[in-house]
Symmetry: D2
Subunit: 445 residues, 4 copies
């Protein structure tokens, strides 16, 4: 990023804090380490990893080479960087973790290598906060060690699950147990043979007049005799093996009552807490995808000539390069701002920023990857990284709530801002303000 | 912005600086003062000011009421806030000034009230840095006092002036004088009878092989017998009186040799320095326009019912509200980042950020004002603030270089980033990376 | 359009009609005559007409030069081409008139020259169909002769008038008269001193349970002592003199009962009939605007050089030229299709097509004019034709119903198409169709 | 489409041909037959066909069920409808075939069922026109009978193949034979075991100063010992089996000299002729995809409820439905116009229209399928038809030339239109036209 910045210029005369757009020294050092690791161990192995994933006999077998890379990352201390709690993880703030997640996100194999991949990160955070000691011992510990994996079961095929009150899975108390019946899909990671626990969301009190207290979350050991994997869902035709996305049937699944998390009826509360960081981590990685797509696009354009001149010199491509840079830089700033808000005022105070970046990040990543595909010509739709990145980013426009729902909620927050304030304070006249001296602002015309 | 943020959480363990997205205490205090002033003196007088501007007999007469408001702002010390040099101005950094300019920009009368309006701000900065003592006394002093105004003469009708090397105006040395001949337009502020000085750019050495040394800038007292005002140019049909944009003919205009700024052939250098802050100030104000348009749109939508329900409840409008908020917040962050870069690494180091925000800010302002017009229905195209804001923001997509030129230069910077780096370091393979094990990344296929 | 087409190839073997995309010989001949007239009399006089319109002492005086041009068009038989009724007009179908209106629309002075300008065309059609003999004599005859003008008073400032059931103006029967009270705006043409009749829409039976029978239309001689012109409304700051758009107050305006058109409670019915052709005529002219903007843009780009090469050779501009051509050709085809539907199955059968083109035409014209402005640089926002065309086309996105209302109604028509049909007939499965053999199409998953 | 249209109203008074936007009686009858066939045999079998294609042991085996459907279509005379030559095909014009191809295109299995699928259609047309009798007997006859298939080898991985002059494959004369060496990819259909002939494009005279005479096309029996299939290329991760897209290496492939088509150096000429119909057929089918995606989207939206109301009632979705209808209707009109032009003035005269629709059709199909995916939520990215349609349409933005190349050529045609015409004839002033009476249009300012 060129020469060091003169941050000291920015202190205010009383020595108070000022805005600061530079990464801290600590962050810069970690960024360099993560980038070096990617260059040394991930990028050179991507072809092999893709190849094995698509060709191994048992397609649901974990990738052995990735397992080796994980051990190395663990040994280097580049491990569980996502976890804010310093007793288990790196103790990084969201803002410190964001630029690292961006670099990891450049490769589909990056996040797992650092034990920072969804849905385990969110699940580890939920377990850290809400699980009983025995469950932490059984599941959190091996998850933190990267020995097992986990899944999160919320979405259902029969209902618009973006409205969580629609969810139909039943979690019924029966003596010392809960009995779970329902139909879930998009349970990412469940097909992985290392997946040993599910966090399931369902209705424990469907008649509760407070619709946000009808839901609970509960731990289900996995595999479980009552849980049938109907199939692995394809994403744009690809089953994403060996990770995968399962469709699961829960048929009278019985678990001990102690498996309920935080308490009956508090599922919504946990979901709110879980989804904030989960969404922001996705966004950070999306920016990494966009950044790499832009780099690949530029290098490609410079390697080709058509109709007598290098394609990189055509202004229509220059426009796209510039717009890509603008979109990425804006999205990164917004992600960092959201992370900052989460760190300073909490997930609820940051909900507008989280909603915004949840819409922005996968959309700009899709757009830039799509331009890159166009720049690669026929090679673009065949390029494994480009096409799987597109499919993944496209899916993120639906996962954890479709764009439409986030925009709607953001608009409601925005409308609320002006509800009890005086338009005259801000020139926000709701009626026509015309300069002819005949109409009064604020009066109906 | 709700409860105070826990910034202390963000210090790194060694006490090093961390990113910070909150305004400083100093900035917050100034924001409140500027907003109060707008509420007390600008918004309630806008109708009267618009009315006088459109109806007074001599349309080029300064607005007396605005003159009174200026005196009050000066008395309150809300004056020359734009000027970083603390001996003359408020000594604010660009980052501190940005949020104030945003608030001023909410009204077309805001910036002048605080003696912070273009083109005077840029001209005052040029005079502060480069003018001789006698010229400072003659022009800078009354400009700082808000007693006179000034203009900047660069653009020419005959050539694509975004490429400054096209400029044809001649500045020829003749003994102790320079003689200026040329045709300029879009000389904003020149029709104002208080305008007493022009900064003129032209070619003093058209044969210089270094095209960036052909240009000089020179001070021309105004009015001047050799300078004819051909007319005031309309912007979307409006002449913007009493400020206005002149078309000027320079016919053998003679000025003392000492009027040259910084030295012959250094016009380009001054322009570079001048345009950075000038552009960023425009962007700050554009964000204020966008913010106010959004507020007015929301209040309007909530005041209307069609086909049996409030227009504000239609999801197509909610989508636009959300997208507006997203665009504004991203643009504001990018503006602040650009200001931060200017403050820490200088205008040259910030040129990518300045180019980006120069494209983004007026474009999003146009988009949001356009949506607001649509929300106001027939009233929208007749609303003086909405229609003049649209015209002004639209013009800013051309002024100081059209979008196309900024995007092109931004793309070149971007392309340069990858020119001498190894794609293997970053996974930036210029050729197709396919997972079948047959193709090598980085090799031509 | 190059060499003649082989239409005969297209006859089907039984000699049945086949699709045909060429203008008829009759249409081609008329197009040539209208284009010649524009070249001979309109384009060379535009500067003078604009100049007079903006500078004459009494700004609401009709333009004498335009009056002379009208006489000439009348003498040449290029007159009232819009009127399908051959007893008064040219007897052209909508499809035949469309390409002529397109050419007229290239200049803001074109339509009036041929006595084909809004709102007179729609009003003449209403009078032709529904007016009593005495009213035809009094108003239709001089309108057809181009001696007087007329206005149409529907929109109101206090309510969202796109939902016509919101309209509040009262038309109350009182003996042999009707008494009208209300507040209207955007009454185009009313400020013209030649305007001698208003067609006013209001509620004669506000309690009627059938909301579409509450409205009537009534003729009001103009000027009228009970009608006050509050002001002429600006459009993007321009009052569009000497045509203009009035805000009118109706205060106990009494007119004979016979002035009601078609019958009490039939206002909605007339409006439906009037708006179809009115909208399509606007669309035809919008395409003319877009076509001329594209031509001017191309010629401009070819006349300028920047950064060492002609601007016309930059691929970003080539992309815009291509997209402009695509948008125009698609919009023209859709306009012609809508006109064809109106001619063959009537306005009601053509309502989807009319709604579509009502959205498309002004939007693409705005887009292309905006690009042209960008291509002209600073000259673009000052160019009278470009900026007034933009303002006019922007207004058309609101006039006769905003885009949002047309899209909404179009979507409802579309949704209705599938309501009672079997999805299996068309592969229109509403639920997920997945290829794994486990899910049945059409069954809920 | 509702009640029959009154076409007779449209005859001009001399009985001359007029524009006509209705399908002919013949076309309507064929449309009904093709739609019935799709409803009876294709849609109900899609699941089974998809399932077999993805699960059969030998993935490159033709689908037996599709073979049976083909026999039925042949028996019903719905066969080779694409071929204009009545001695072999249905003798339909492009305009008559377009609406049939649209219906076939609704399913990926439609076109092959009617023996109307790419690349065979284009290849059959080339063989019909240019092949020697023995080659017709050997390859055209069984192709017309649907017994064998064929492929077209043009694109190369090493060069930007959209500029055909870049092509590097060598076709060298050696005695009575030609020897072919090169590397091709995207050879669709080559992996199908029924593929028995390749049409290969390459350079027979690379030194010819006329770059459009360097190329030849030649027939290569397939499989051939000198041709190695390196692999089947994935499209967004899917190999499109059992059709597929091959990467082929030609290593000293020797074929008789008589296999050259039309004559040495005439490859470009054949390509021009082949690509016109090929592109237009793709566009017709793309419209079918868009139409079906819209239908599925609407039905889906009506089957879901979120946040208390049916999703179909949200205006943001209504806007998308309306925009989809507008895009489809415009694209269909443009396709039909292009087909009409090809029928009446030939492929060369229709090249602007072909370029336009080549850009428009796959782009709008991608957009509408993408909206449909969003409407289907998680089910959207897993839905085989939606995701494979997206991948296919996305690929069509590159196949037969990327969007950028078509737009560029279209823009050049457009620029040429104005090169030798007088701007005064059309008001196309290249310089600023301002209403103040001081500037002359057409003069430099």
């Amino acid at each position: 990023m060129g020469k060091p910045h003169n941050r000291e210029k920015l202190h205010d005369d009383k020595g108070n804090a000022a805005m600061d757009f530079d990464y801290s020294t600590k962050t810069e050092a970690l960024r360099a380490r993560v980038a070096d690791f990617m260059a040394a161990h991930i990028y050179p192995n991507e072809q092999a990893l893709f190849h094995t994933a698509h060709s191994q006999a048992d397609r649901w077998q974990p990738l052995a080479l990735l397992g080796e890379i994980k051990q190395r990352a663990k040994a280097e201390g580049l491990w569980n960087l996502f976890l804010p709690q310093s007793e288990h993880g790196a103790g990084l703030t969201n803002m410190e973790y964001a630029p690292l997640a961006e670099i990891m996100g450049r490769s589909p194999f990056g996040p797992e290598a650092f034990n920072c991949s969804a849905p385990d990160t969110g699940n580890m955070e939920v377990l850290t906060r809400y699980a009983a000691a025995e469950h932490k011992e059984r599941w959190l510990k091996p998850l933190l060690a990267g020995e097992i994996r986990s899944a999160f079961a919320m979405t259902e095929p029969r209902v618009a699950s973006s409205d969580a009150t629609n969810i139909e899975t039943e979690i019924r108390r029966d003596g010392d147990e809960y009995v779970i019946n329902g139909h879930k899909w998009w349970i990412s990671g469940a097909p992985d043979p290392r997946c040993h626990v599910l966090i399931v969301m369902g209705k424990s009190d469907p008649a509760n007049p407070d619709r946000h207290k009808q839901q609970s979350m509960i731990l289900v050991p996995f595999p479980h005799p009552g849980v049938t994997m109907k199939r692995a869902l394809p994403v744009f035709g690809d089953d994403d093996a060996p990770h995968g996305h399962a469709e699961l049937i829960f048929d009278n699944v019985r678990v001990p009552a102690a498996n309920i998390l935080l308490g009956e009826g508090r599922g919504f509360e946990i979901a709110q807490g879980r989804l904030g960081p989960g969404r922001i981590h996705h966004c950070m990685r999306s920016i990494g995808v966009a950044e790499r797509a832009l780099e690949r696009m530029i290098r490609r354009l410079e390697s080709r000539t058509a109709f007598g001149k290098p394609v990189a010199e055509q202004s229509v491509w220059r426009e796209r390069i510039a717009e890509s840079r603008i979109m990425i830089d804006q999205a990164r700033l917004l992600t960092l701002k959201a992370a900052y808000m989460m760190d300073t005022v909490g997930n609820k105070g940051a909900r507008a920023e989280i909603a915004m970046i949840k819409v922005v990040a996968p959309n700009i990543a899709c757009k830039i990857v799509d331009w890159a595909i166009q720049a690669f010509g026929g090679g673009g739709v065949a390029d494994t990284w480009l096409s799987s990145s597109y499919a993944h980013q496209r899916t993120l426009r639906l996962a954890d709530g479709p764009d439409e729902v986030h925009r709607d909620q953001l608009a409601r927050l925005e409308q609320r801002r002006y509800q009890n304030t005086d338009p005259a304070r801000s020139g926000g006249y709701p009626n026509v303000m015309i300069a002819d001296g005949l109409s009064e602002p604020g009066l109906p015309l």
